[in-house]
Symmetry: C2
Subunit: 412 residues, 2 copies
């Protein structure tokens, strides 16, 4: 494998033209789309239109004429095919954390008749906010719910038992890139009387997701990573039709009311996915989510997955061959089916090495403990990018050109 | 009073120059800033900078370098003086509904030792989402909380008793513009062992608010109305320092953690107002909130209040004199201290009359039952606007130039 081989693969890549729909700064190899997706070129004009015309000129009328009120549902319908959901089952709204609270509450409500089921099972390695939201919800319910943290994937099956109300998992692990078998774990949970809540933060737009086919019960996810919705863009929640009638959640704001403009003094949830809505949404940030979805509409998740696996396999191969001898350890599964669209390596000085990479234009990120994360986003990452990133990594490691005293800041 | 008198008042108005900092379409008299504030001219450039530079070029680094992570706190500190709060007591985040849930939960937690206090008292005429959120929260707690709806302001005192945990009120009523006496009602609640939760949706930026001086316990509010933050811009929550240590709320996401980047598997709330945060925020919508606050920083709430009362008094006088004989009924208090910065009149064909006004460029809005709302925003409403709006209203009524069959849409 040479850099020319990579260029040849880029020339043959059917997704290569889509890179032109993103604005990336020159001199940067951006391998952090798993944290904050790159900017679709269309996003700026879209925001300008919302701000200058819809807000500035049409003002309050835009709630009707620009479809602001319908935006969470309309974007949800556009996002649905990417996660194997149907129209009318997804809304884009609020934050992932808030949506997880709704989904967990809805899941506990579905299980309310089973008083003996008082445990939410999840992984200790889950993204912390998921664990915190489960702890927050269970701590407030006097029935005595608890959150059970499982240490290893292979222990999940044993942890789901007659006491389990909910199995809550993040489909692709944010640190390791490990991808759960959604079908098998959903079936396991169902057999044991538990319902599943899936967090798709690192799955939506990254790997094919088939929520309905795989028998998931509820799901939430993020639009600002692989879906390129913009910093902190509103998240999504999926409630399949079969659960909607009994979906009850405590964040019962007016946007989820059957007749919000009747201004009645008692809450009555609307039919359908709208009952997962709560309050008024940040329209400018929300509107830009569509620009990312517009790019996805020009391809499909099968093509994205094929290139994603080619990129991550190439990266693993190149790091392991070209950086051999350095204390790098792969923590991402080698088996393609168990891998998301990121690759993580540990290094004893992982934080410092990542800072050195960033200083040389290779933007990945770092997660405790000692993990360097590299996200591969088939819409705008090339095979030559992978080659060049590894060449820079090799140079940094060979010359020990990193500062072990580098200080950490915040990165989300 | 003539139109020339109004022009003279505009010429003498110290706030008149601030109108130039807002973009308003020509030919429009915008009296709906109580629903969606007008666009500060600076908002477009601010959003462009966030999208093109901070997101597009600096990408993930902007969480640090552009201060994205600190934005809820920084904007909260800037907003605090407008509501009589101190720095470190306010964050701008999430929606008003979600923040109300946090504030109510925090208030119930403060009262947890008083098992006999199981009632949240509020008004039947409160904005519905406030009632819905209280119903949603109380319905989920097995202790048997209930929401008590009071029909008349004068009955609030009787409704707050030994069974009351929380008195939850919207400071200025969204329909009538009635302004509660925050100091008196907070004192009453405190004497009777209840804590107060105030919704400042129609107060922040509209009337002087003195949360600390008036003895309020918790507050939430909106930035997209009088504060001109943009459509659906994130809301705010106030937790005074004296309550922060015991402020516990179930939406315990990672942004409220003491060490969010340690990625620990157990929630530990941070010190201070940060524990009112939950998940990742919509940065573009959030950043624009500052453009509205920048305008407020050039004046003060006393000057705004003086002009607000002059505008609303003039509007009431002109409508009642020039439109005498038409079935208009003032539902906003005549007493200045009991009035917010809006004026509401009922008319048997209120919806149709409002549609006719909008058709002629006078943008107010309509709320059931039969109420036409007119918001007066001293930063960009002139005395001549008031004169002209009444002249158009008079013409519509005199000529019965409205369509009683007009259909309703959604308006927030």
């Amino acid at each position: 494998m040479t850099r020319d081989d990579c260029l040849a693969r880029d020339a043959a890549d059917p997704l290569a033209p889509l890179r032109g729909q993103f604005d990336l700064p020159p001199g940067v190899i951006y391998l952090d789309g798993n944290s904050l997706g790159a900017r679709p070129r269309a996003a700026l004009a879209r925001a300008q239109n919302v701000i200058a015309r819809e807000w500035g000129i049409d003002l309050i009328k835009s709630w009707n004429t620009a479809g602001w009120f319908e935006l969470p549902r309309r974007l949800g319908d556009r996002l649905a095919p990417l996660i194997g959901a149907a129209a009318g089952e997804v809304v884009v709204t609020d934050s992932t954390s808030v949506n997880l609270f709704k989904a967990l509450a809805g899941a506990l409500h579905v299980q309310a008749a089973h008083a003996e089921r008082k445990v939410i099972v999840t992984e200790r390695s889950n993204f912390p906010t998921d664990i915190y939201m489960a702890q927050g919800l269970s701590g407030w319910l006097e029935r005595g719910y608890q959150v059970r943290l499982v240490d290893r994937v292979e222990d999940i099956a044993d942890a789901v038992g007659p006491d389990t109300a909910v199995l809550m998992l993040t489909h692709v692990n944010y640190r390791t890139g490990y991808q759960h078998d959604m079908a098998a774990l959903s079936a396991l949970a169902r057999e044991r009387g538990a319902v599943t809540v899936w967090d798709l933060a690192h799955s939506a737009g990254a790997v094919p997701v088939a929520l309905a086919r795989d028998g998931a019960d509820f799901a939430v996810g993020c639009t600002y990573k692989y879906l390129n919705g913009g910093p902190g863009a509103p998240a999504f929640i999926w409630v399949p039709r079969r659960h909607q009638a009994q979906f009850v959640q405590p964040l019962s704001g007016w946007w989820g009311h059957a007749a919000p403009f009747d201004m009645a003094p008692h809450f009555a949830p609307c039919d359908g996915i709208g009952r997962a809505l709560c309050g008024t949404q940040p329209i400018v940030s929300l509107a830009m989510v569509e620009c990312g979805l517009d790019v996805f509409a020009q391809t499909d998740m099968a093509a994205i997955r094929a290139k994603s696996l080619a990129l991550t396999s190439l990266f693993i191969d190149l790091v392991e061959t070209r950086c051999a001898g350095h204390p790098l350890e792969l923590v991402t599964p080698r088996e393609p089916a168990r891998r998301g669209s990121q690759v993580s390596f540990t290094h004893p000085h992982g934080f410092a090495v990542m800072q050195a990479l960033i200083g040389r234009g290779v933007i990945g990120d770092y997660r405790e403990p000692a993990i360097m994360r590299f996200g591969f986003t088939p819409l705008y990452t090339s095979f030559a990018d992978v080659w060049d990133a590894v060449a820079i990594l090799k140079d940094i490691l060979d010359r020990e050109d990193y500062d072990v005293a580098a200080r950490r800041g915040v990165v989300t």
